[in-house]
Symmetry: C2
Amino acid sequence: MQTLPFHPRGFRSCAKNVGIRDESLDFTVIASDVPASAAAMFTQNRFCGAAIPVGREHVANGRLQAFVINSKNANVATGEQGIRNIREVVRLVGEELGIAPEDILPSSTGVIGWQLPMEKLRASIRGFSAEMQPGCLHVSARAIMTTDTRPKMRARKIGNAVLVGIAKGVGMIEPNMATMLSYFMTDARIEPDQLQACLKEAVDLSFNMLSVDTDTSTSDTVAIMANGLAGDVNMIEFRQALCKMAVELTKDLASDGEGATKLIEVTVDEASSFGQAKRIAKSIVNSPLVKTAVFGADPNWGRIAMAIGKCSEQEEIDPEKVTIAFGDIVVYRGEPVEHVSLDQLKSYLHHSEIEIHVSLGLGHEQATVWGCDLTYEYVRINGEYTS
Amino acid sequence: MQTLPFHPRGFRSCAKNVGIRDESLDFTVIASDVPASAAAMFTQNRFCGAAIPVGREHVANGRLQAFVINSKNANVATGEQGIRNIREVVRLVGEELGIAPEDILPSSTGVIGWQLPMEKLRASIRGFSAEMQPGCLHVSARAIMTTDTRPKMRARKIGNAVLVGIAKGVGMIEPNMATMLSYFMTDARIEPDQLQACLKEAVDLSFNMLSVDTDTSTSDTVAIMANGLAGDVNMIEFRQALCKMAVELTKDLASDGEGATKLIEVTVDEASSFGQAKRIAKSIVNSPLVKTAVFGADPNWGRIAMAIGKCSEQEEIDPEKVTIAFGDIVVYRGEPVEHVSLDQLKSYLHHSEIEIHVSLGLGHEQATVWGCDLTYEYVRINGEYTS
């Protein structure tokens, strides 16, 4: 099992199988030995999971001491009973660890519309505090997986402090002001307001630039705890490190997108605003016709033009000013570039990372987004998810 | 070959192969013996085909006498040369038929980014007027096909008049104020203003309610000619007939969607506005996760909740007021309906037409949209389109 090279001080965790759907890891708790500064961002989906309002309430004062996360069941569209269930999970975990329930942020991910199996959860939570250990966040990274094929995790030192991030999510990914599940733990000392600002900046440039299938999860959560045990850090370095780690985890998620065989990175520049660059880049990375062409290595670059042009409601595009390139191969510059070798383009499209670059010729802003191809395997995975 | 039961007076047509890409029908002209009232709606895609501005210009005065349509090449993203080419096609067709170029509406559909093969077109247009015949609009319905597996056409009598409609389009379908290619011909006498109003009403309730893959074609055009040879009609009957025919053609297009095995009809009612009902219905019918679940007959109804909830930016949804049903099977009414048989739901999902019904509990407006499932075949068709 892949591990992490270093760990932040004062965090312990445990991950186990409580039998929610099968015998894989489906439950994890990550706790700090001392109360930590905290920040979080959540899905904007109106049919959000029962854990979301509870987590939002608990992080409001900028302080948390633990995350509790179950996979395989999202506890979404479960009405009042769903809320009562997740509150009970939080209370039991708190009693077991000696932490106030208000200092615990819960998350659930998995199938929508089923109640949590409370008997199994109660039985498993009883006595689990004896299993909490330092240095095993890599097991938590596995326990939060659903259809992921591999865990996503990163560790980095900033001065004397350590920052670790874990993430999951390979489908239903079109984050809207938040993301799939991702958790960051650091022993740096950072005030809650600063932490929230750092997290928002990192999320806006990473997870919010990711799409797998245009579907927005009901459970998206990204949260961070900073327990201060390593003292102060250089905040410029910390912000850069958090941003960089979030982008790396985002690319990990995109390349493990359901059924994905290729990572797609789309950069739109010379836009009149960041918003315009992002909308057009998302339109390209989300287009099923672009995604299937990348999968099939079909040099059908006209679909990029289509995806740029369909953003017509908000955008003033001038096709004569547009340039379209795949890697170094420019295919369109106001009109089709003559003598482009479709064979060369086809061979480029066989790479595992495809870069699409569009210049709009309108201004000076740019955005980069990530996604993946659309494959037979995406259809198979999602045609038989609950069956 | 399927034919039409009756034909409007005074329309002649010819359809042939000019060798644009292969040996199938790829070129058709439909002309009225006399100038006709006319109306049209076009794609809002900014990267629109060269034919679009020319057609828009020619229909502006409410009068047309012919449609000329080629398939297999969309003449999109082809710069100034593309415009010069389509103007030449229109001029040559006009000379051949003795019709002013300004009374001809051109359309092109097919691959994006390639110039029209003008030598072949010039050779084929020369002398084709001798091939124009009445009663063969069903051959035109074939000539406009690209990846369609069957032609779409309808005929209907309104009093003494006849209305015929043909349509094509099975991918890149998320019309935006217009539609894929569709043409209506009638011998009823109708003023241009009235005709435009009828067409807009019909399109808004039919083609604009259709999605195959959220991608908006660069060539969408719907147009109608009314040559008046049958005299006046009851306009209420005509409007109803045009709407009904447009909805039928829309359902034909949806069930022939690229790779589709099932037609999906989504109705959202009890909405606070038509716009809200339409946005939520489209969010459901466009969700890749809903589309793959329908394909796999996976009773994963939670994805409907997800797709409703993800319209969070514009919508005030209250999950407690929402009802979700598949056909007669209610699965969610503010919370999961107990004792729903997932086996019964699974067996319903094996039908070839799936009805999803959502009530929002907010108001009195409703909308119905159409789409299709997402299958291995969609991925295959679009992974190797140009190769």
